[in-house]
Symmetry: C2
């Protein structure tokens, strides 16, 4: 399986799905009568919060790391992240028996540092600004020869994230709509590719916090837009799109809904209380969008990707 | 299916399992590599937190209400409870299209009152002391003719609770040990009957908070012992055993482990963080017991009943 240098095809996605099987969980799809009644549609929640490392990011890291060949592979993989992507890269490297180098800001929460180190990764700290992260990563890559796995703007990663929707549509082929949250766009672009290939009639929608509505503005303008503020509770969605993810999203995503911070907290609480599962604030954004736009979804069969469950229980919004 | 007047037999349990099928969910069994590594054994968690009304109590209420015949049935069912049993009785009555009367202390949390009322039950308030609850219930039963469903000291209820373990052992017949928390003993007695009938080699253990260790003392003395204090975080386990549940527990339960309050909170947090599921403090008691008694469980295949997921998110212990 070679590294992808253009938009993944259906056959690329299927190869990926097959290749990463032993590195990931096939996650369950849950439904909830109460939430269906409230939303006026039938929602199928793909539970990537139960994925290895607690998030869908495991899929992309598995896909990208498995595509490394020979000597390059043995030199290891690297990234900069203090979130789920860091743990995913570390876990993938552990599985393959190769080194992982993770650049993290020196103010990263101790629990994230320890979590990543527990998978055997080497952590390299840097100042908590974007430039320092990129510079430190470049140094690490130069010194070690490790391969940089971008958290989202990478076709191998996108193909990995797409497999969540392939599985969802294998279980529930009748879906009319699939909704995914959008930050850097790796998940949303992969979701839209998978849905498009399986059944082009399926509408794919993005959902993001109003405070960081760069994806909606980028979809409208056709260029990568920036965010003036990044203080949303949905901490996984603060990043902007990349050129590769924007390109795919422009082709296959119908629209992007934006939601208020209170709507995110309410939707998160609903899922915790009614479904008894733990999800990150970012995953609540699609349900918040559904509840705020009921006409769009009325009577439909709707898939929602629940992206992850790594939350700090000592710091909850309720 | 008639009401049971002696210890349920295997055939009673199987009849019950079949009869209540349409009123309950067949709940999933989850495993977790990290927790297995920590505990030194393989744990199979039966997720009754995903059960209808969010707790295993639905099984007992379904079993007892389905056993009512003709005229008696149409007069409805009644109980006193401010917890999961109240919602279970209300939901069972709603399913059968009969009235439900629930006596609740007038200081019961609003969310529990509303939750029970949402299933169509009539709520009757009383002073928040045991005598007032029993007196009010007796009045309701006299006036309405409704049938009182005891929360645990009732063979029909015990047969219902036993079905969780029948399902668990259908999925994982190789279990060496099954651990259930013990409050009034409905679940533990049912669990021990089911395990005994399926395979008498399976050891059944109870687990309770040290602060309310009445079940352990009752098992040792042979009589129903009281608790001097009831201020455990595991609010589902504050009650004492009944004559019927003690009798079965004496026959089929090998031992009861007691755990400290901090151990319960730690085990609860581990399940939330590692398994990404929401459980009540009461359900964390078996895992706390396993982690505090590793020699007993080392290398074994251990079933654990996770009893429910109804927690107040605004009042968490971490």
């Amino acid at each position: 399986m070679k590294s992808l240098s253009s938009i993944p095809t259906l056959s690329d996605l299927k190869l990926t799905q097959d290749a990463i099987k032993s590195m990931i969980h096939r996650t369950p799809v849950l439904t909830n009568q109460f939430l269906n009644g409230m939303a006026g549609c039938s929602i199928y929640f793909k539970c990537e919060n139960f994925q290895k490392i607690g998030a869908f990011k495991m899929r992309g890291a598995a896909s990208a790391s498995l595509r490394l060949q020979g000597e390059v592979k043995n030199l290891g993989i690297a990234t900069h992240s203090s979130g789920n992507h860091a743990q995913a890269v570390a876990k993938a490297a552990q599985f393959l028996g190769i080194p992982a180098y993770i650049v993290m800001p020196n103010n990263a929460p101790k629990i994230k540092v320890e979590g990543t180190r527990a998978y055997g990764a080497e952590i390299i700290f840097c100042e908590p600004i974007q430039m320092a992260r990129e510079k430190t990563l470049a140094e690490v890559v130069r010194k070690t020869g490790a391969h940089f796995i971008h958290p989202y703007d990478n076709y191998d990663v996108i193909a990995g994230q797409a497999t969540a929707t392939l599985e969802l549509l294998e279980d529930f082929p009748q879906l009319d709509i699939v909704v995914a949250p959008v930050g850097g766009g790796g998940l949303l672009s992969g979701t839209s590719l998978a849905a498009h290939y399986v059944n082009p009639e399926i509408m794919v929608l993005g959902a993001e916090p109003k405070r960081v509505d760069d994806a909606l503005r980028s979809l409208r303008s056709g260029h990568i837009e920036q965010n003036e503020r990044t203080d949303t509770i949905a901490d996984g969605l603060r990043t902007t799109l990349g050129p590769l993810t924007l390109d795919i999203i422009k082709r296959h995503v119908t629209d992007i809904f934006t939601v208020e911070e209170e709507e995110i907290v309410q939707a998160m609480r609903l899922i915790w209380e009614r479904m008894k599962i733990i999800i990150e604030p970012s995953c609540a954004v699609p349900l918040a969008a559904i509840l705020a736009n009921k006409e769009t979804f009325r009577g439909k069969q709707v898939g929602v990707i629940l992206t992850g469950g790594n939350v700090d229980l000592g710091n909850l919004p309720f």
